[in-house]
């Protein structure tokens, strides 16, 4: 698959704060790319740089094989976006809003298509109502309709499920899957709802404090055969044992009296046996099995 986005050594500094620090990643055509991180990790800043809302301090962004700074208009014509909340003109109707954004997209769109697009997101009956009378879920659907009106190749959704009720979240999730699988669109989706990402994303990037923690295929990262194991025990003795045994090659980190190793889940009983055999009192051995655990593990200070 072709690369749609290639980001190299992207950095953004706000006075004393480095919001994004030397970040590199790539998004392939047709995939749903999950962008994960805790609040303040630098997700929104990165997404805003992809949309030219924020100027990078350093680094380059290529989208559709073109440099974003040099081919801004050409690239943005092919991108649809929702940035955090779908803030629209509340004093205008849904039809007026979508009409306005259609004109700004730089592509001629027939009027009938605008109505069809509103019907697709379930707003046919309310298209003449002012947006200020809409619920958050309806606004989100209208925002999505506006983002899709010019049939963009790439869709960037920053926290698209923010403020939605469970039904709205499910609708948004289905919409993302449909856009990717049925229409072949490439999506970059950021969210703090990791369980959602686990369902919709093909690849993902986890960032923490503006830095890349891990990037890869979601299935590979969550391979049940290859687990992260957290050991709570007498740290000094346990570490001494691990470092002087074959387990040393699986050792990943030690923090707050927790020793973290990566190995096949089948090895856990053997590992436990050996710890006991070496008189190491084990408080707990825990296998991290969900993306959420993985995410929390990777982004923990």
């Amino acid at each position: 698959m072709n690369e749609i986005i290639r980001v190299n050594n992207l950095t953004k500094e706000f006075k004393e704060v480095k919001a994004v620090d030397n970040l590199s990643f790539s998004v392939r055509e047709g995939e749903v790319y999950g962008f994960l991180g805790q609040n303040g990790a630098g997700k929104s800043t990165t997404i805003r740089m992809l949309l030219t809302l924020i100027k990078p301090t350093d680094g380059t962004i290529e989208i559709f094989g073109m440099n974003l700074q040099q081919h801004r208009k050409e690239i943005l014509k092919q991108i649809g976006a929702i940035i955090e909340r779908p803030d629209l003109y509340n004093y205008l109707t849904a039809l007026e809003n979508i009409q306005l954004f259609a004109k700004l997209s730089g592509i001629k769109i027939p009027f009938t298509h605008l109505k069809e697009q509103l019907a697709k997101v379930g707003l046919a009956d309310r298209m003449h109502s002012k947006v200020k009378t809409y619920s958050q879920g309806m606004k989100q659907r209208l925002g999505l309709a506006c983002a899709l009106i010019h049939d963009p190749k790439l869709l960037i959704l920053d926290e698209p499920t923010n403020g939605l009720d469970p039904q709205g979240i499910a609708e948004m999730r289905n919409m993302i899957i449909r856009l990717s699988k049925e229409q072949g669109k490439t999506l970059v989706v950021s969210s703090h709802l990791l369980s959602e990402m686990e369902i919709v994303a093909d690849s993902m990037l986890i960032i923490n404090k503006g830095k890349k923690v891990v990037e890869g295929n979601v299935k590979e990262l969550l391979n049940p055969e290859y687990s992260i194991v957290e050991l709570e025990a007498d740290t000094e003795t346990a570490l001494n044992f691990i470092r002087n045994s074959e387990w040393n090659k699986y050792l990943k980190s030690v923090a707050n009296h927790i020793i973290r190793l990566e190995f096949n889940k089948d090895k856990i009983p053997d590992f436990n046996k050996e710890l006991v055999a070496h008189d190491i009192s084990v408080e707990s051995i825990r296998r991290i099995h969900s993306l959420e655990d993985y995410f929390l593990t990777q982004t923990k200070d």
Binding site: F14, R48, L51, T52, L53, I54, K55, R72, K73, E74, I75, L76, K77, I79, A81, I83, E84, R85, D87, L88, Y89, N90, Y91, L92, E96, L100, F101, K103, L104, S105, G106, C146
Partner: protein, 294 residues
Amino acid sequence: MFFTILRIELFKIFKRPRTYISFGAIAVIVILVQLALKVNGKDFIELYTDSQSDTFEIPYNKILNGYFVCVAVLHMILIHVPLLVALIAGDMISGEANLGTLRLLGSKPITRTELVLAKFSASTIYVILLLVWMAVLALFGSILLFGQGDLVVFKEMDWHQMNSYDVLWRFFAAFIFASLALTTIAAMAMMFSAFSENSLGPIVATVCVVIVFTIVQQLKVPLFEHTINPWSFTTHMLGWKGFFYVEKAADGTTIDGSIERPMALVRSGLILLGYIGLFMSITVWHFRKKDILN
């Protein structure tokens, strides 16, 4: 693309209820002034002619015609219109930031310069429409209510009298000049708007600047008369009055089609254009490099 954005900006302006507050306010003020002059017009003229009324007979009824009332209306309300202009222009960029729509606009395939210039052009069109509305009400409304005649304008101890056939072009020119003056206010409000993330700040800042410079101008102390006032935009905003001050022949009669100090008007116009250029350059420069965070 510029004209597409301009049409969109005008559409947004005229879809907002607050836009019509200005039109409503102008209508109310003009009608109130016309009503007051209809009832107490003689008293109003006496304010200016009191010292001369003992020397010769003042033809109050002839002076109090539609043209005179229109000039009186302009004197009374043009000083307040900047507030109404700031209400719209001060909200053009910061209002979008506050609403969250600026990031949607910023991620569209339009340049930021195009966006700022389209917004400024939309504000200018709004200013012109506001003045056309004022002209219709103040000029044609007053002519309907008070009739036509020669125009008399008081300037300190001087009377400037213009023949009725020599008046309409002066109003036309004065309205164009007032448009330029109010566009200067719109440009300043837009500049403040580009630096702000909320709607109220730029509106208040614009009004404060106008008030401060107006006070400095009215103090008439030498310190300011020779330093700030010759270059203050509030001084030159009042240049429209110059179209109603005429040259006199040796026998004291008015020279038709004349203006007392034409070069002063040209200078004022150029200074206002300079301010517009300065304010808009700062706006474009800042907005192009601005990080859109809201």
